[in-house]
Symmetry: C2
Subunit: 145 residues, 2 copies
Amino acid sequence: MVLSKACTYGVLASLYVAKQSENKSYVSIRDMSNELRISFHFLTKILQKLTAEGILQSHKGPKGGILLAREARNITILDVVLAIDGDKVFTECVLGLPGCGSERPCPMHNHWITVREDLREMFSTKTLAATSDDIRELGLRLSIE
Amino acid sequence: MVLSKACTYGVLASLYVAKQSENKSYVSIRDMSNELRISFHFLTKILQKLTAEGILQSHKGPKGGILLAREARNITILDVVLAIDGDKVFTECVLGLPGCGSERPCPMHNHWITVREDLREMFSTKTLAATSDDIRELGLRLSIE
DNA sequence: CAAATAAAAGACTCTTTTATCTTAAATTAA
DNA sequence: TTAATTTAAGATAAAAGAGTCTTTTATTTG
């Protein structure tokens, strides 16, 4: 798996919040966990990380929940991935050799760095705004159902 | 990590065997584990899988060890990856949604399938023969050192 | 202020992956 | 045929990832 489970949940949750953010009220984590079919407590932990990283903002108490901390067009899926999984996928050697790079390359290095960059590009070109528009217009899925 | 640790060890080991296979004698797993700095017993299990999958052949007893089961130019790195990790990386949804595909795509599907295919292509175009030639000619690394 | 609500935080469990250790089986060679 | 060597197999352990449960803290509303 390219992304950890926590990371895919974080991306799905961010897109869910972006999609709801026309209503200016906070998005309930409980509702989101029901709709996305993600364990509530596990989701909570992931969202806490995204909040700590300045991607989401949260509010306790009745009518509380979470919101995007910045405008949806200023947050990319790469931002969410980096916040949860870090940049390992985009920097590591595909054969796991420490210190692999142009000076001391592994047998796959030159080919791998192009694929790795394509992967990063894929995540960086998609903003939450544009992606949630796609979801609405094309009827794309965010959950198991 | 795109590949499991077991899988990266399997690829490194296969390349090591290919590189040694000018000498027609069996390659010692013990020597290989020392040179590649991979735990002997863990490596043994991985090689057993590759043997079971028909990529390697083994021989017990003194002067025993392993060899490629086919010619190095007829084994690709993809073969090794599929034998150990299966085809999950090349078929799964990047957001982990079960049943994601062109009929019921996730928000990243269309972009992801191109990256996924590039990844498969990277592994499938490299034979053990060509890659071990590269290693010799360009002095590439197979181990931590 | 008190009660209800909802996120935050931390402890804990389960599963999978990675790694180690021990014993068994096969083969070679003296 | 016996001793040494080397892979095979299985049991166990350690670490990481995924998921659950309980308690605490902050906020709203009656």
